[in-house]
Amino acid sequence: MRALISAALILTLAGCSNLGVKPWERGTLAKPEMALDSSPLQTAFEEHIYFSKEASSGGRGFAGGGCGCN
């Protein structure tokens, strides 16, 4: 598992120089639905639910906490 993740990371980093687009090629990427978090309010609800119900939290953003959730 760990080796796989490391390999993926290294490949990604090594590939970075060849990746990407020119500024005028960003039409699609600029669409709201292409934002990595296209609905932060919905994400906040989700994180709150799963924080309360599962033993893992965060990862995508700060794990936070801030509730005595049952």
């Binding site: 598992m1 993740i5 993926a8 990371l9 990604t12 980093l13 970075c16 120089s17 990746l19 990407g20 687009v21 020119k22 500024p23 090629e25 960003r26 039409g27 699609t28 990427l29 669409k31 709201p32 639905e33 292409m34 990595l36 609905s39 932060p40 309010l41 919905q42 906040a44 609800f45 709150h48 639910i49 799963y50 119900k53 599962e54 033993a55 893992s56 965060g58 990862g59 995508r60 953003g61 700060f62 794990a63 936070g64 906490g65 801030g66 509730c67 005595g68 049952n70």
Partner: protein, 423 residues
């Protein structure tokens, strides 16, 4: 229109208060009467099966774009919970009686039923503010803070992140720090670890003091544009939580060799927890449909190892879109998860160096979420999601006596409804 102005003024005053006096002068330089604040409302309805927890949560988010490279976001959330939550004790072949946390109310649990504490009721109010500002062409700074208040819990936090663009903005590296200080004021006082709960109104001894917890998180991110249609994100998270981690309302059953409960005691968890996570997300546009995939691996020093996969696919349909979604989560148990303790095995009351909790959320468990969203884009986008959430905790393999005929880790399902609209 006059009403709009009034609301704007009230909002601007609230914003100025939140951001402190130093930001006040700057904020008030702008015209609040116009369309400067972008408001978004959201509503969450969460309802568990079998009369367990129900939650209703309205939220409001206000975003003020001050310049192309500066913005302020404020978020208010209310969270009202009712219903019943498992108290951690095992079911029994006879009727059981428990004393509520306040010590004043007893509740009865029928034979064979999972003990649920129905005295549970809570309202949470949360407020967060963040400010994003470009420091230069490549660097962006985000500062944030949050406040979350419940009658028995208070959380106050601040965070800062710095993002730097490289390679014609195709690569972004970021680093962030978040610190949160939480105060827990257990109803009825802080329970002594492993002390027996009250029987028939006979109060157990509890110091009536507040407990604290400090949570520090570091987050490192890499965002990479792959091509015109796809983007990849990798995040590494490191977290350390220090202080009171017990759930003051969770109990553990002590059972005899026949599997019959002899007493119910309070749990005890370690006073620190360190977490590491790796999160990766890949988003791809395919002829205006959007595929979003995410995977998270998380581990902590309590013994939790978890995998989360989240996949959604957004399909355009006329002026709107549909989005089916699947989330799969799987966790191992913490080292100190004990569905029950055998009589004689329980630590002496007050022993803080030994850990045990029967909270099923710390046990081995798989969960599945399936959902469908429908939304409309345009000037006032909105979206509605309906989701079904199923928790399948692992039933302990070796059970003793009469517990063999009973389910200690029942499945739990919930329906989640989420609405989001731009105002």
């Amino acid at each position: 229109m006059a009403r709009d102005k009034k609301i704007s003024r009230a909002l601007s005053a609230a914003a100025a208060t939140l951001l402190g006096s130093s930001a006040e002068a700057g904020l008030l330089d702008y015209d609040f009467g116009g369309q400067d604040w972008d408001a978004e409302a959201a509503f969450l309805l969460y309802s568990e099966s079998d009369g367990r927890v129900s939650a209703v949560a309205p939220a409001l988010q206000l975003t003020r774009t001050i310049d192309t490279d500066e913005s302020v976001t404020l978020r208010f959330t209310l969270d009202a919970l009712t219903g019943a939550s498992p108290n951690g004790a095992v079911p029994s072949k006879s009727v059981q009686t428990f004393t509520g946390p306040s010590g004043s109310s007893d509740y009865r649990v029928e034979a064979g039923q999972t003990p649920l504490d129905d005295t549970f009721k809570d309202t949470r109010a949360a407020l967060s503010a963040s400010w994003t500002q470009a420091l230069s062409r490549e660097n962006t700074l985000t500062l944030g803070s949050h406040l979350s208040v419940e009658f028995d819990y208070l959380s106050l936090g601040a965070n800062a992140s710095l993002a730097r663009d490289f390679n014609q903005r195709n690569t972004t590296l970021s680093a962030g720090l978040s610190v949160s200080a939480d105060t827990i004021s257990p109803v009825g006082g802080t329970p002594t670890p492993y002390a027996a709960t009250a029987v028939d109104g006979d109060d157990d001894q509890r110091p009536d003091n507040d407990q604290n917890k400090t949570v520090t998180d570091l987050l490192f991110g890499l965002t990479q544009v792959i091509d015109r249609d796809s983007v990849l994100q990798l995040s590494l998270g490191l977290g350390l939580s220090d202080g009171y981690h017990n759930d003051p309302y969770k109990l553990i059953s002590v059972v005899d060799n026949n599997g019959d409960p002899t007493e119910t005691i309070h749990e005890n968890r370690p006073d620190s927890r360190s977490r590491q996570s790796l999160y990766t997300q890949y988003k791809r546009n395919m002829n205006d449909a959007v595929l979003n995939t995410a995977y998270r691996y998380m581990r902590d020093d309590w013994g939790i190892r978890s995998h989360t996969v989240d996949i959604s696919y957004r399909l355009p349909a006329g002026t709107g879109w549909w989005q089916p979604r699947l989330r799969l989560y799987s966790q191992t148990a913490t080292d100190f998860y004990r569905p029950y303790l055998l009589d004689g095995e329980q630590p002496t009351a007050g022993v803080d160096s030994s850990y045990a909790s029967a909270d099923y959320r710390l046990g081995e468990m798989d969960t599945t979420t399936v959902g469908l969203s429908y939304g409309r884009d345009g000037d006032r986008p909105w979206q509605l999601s309906v989701e079904y959430y199923l928790q399948t905790p692992k039933e302990p393999e070796a059970k003793i006596g009469s517990l063999r005929q009973l389910t200690l880790a029942p499945e739990m399902s919930a329906v989640i409804l989420r609405l989001n609209l731009d105002l």
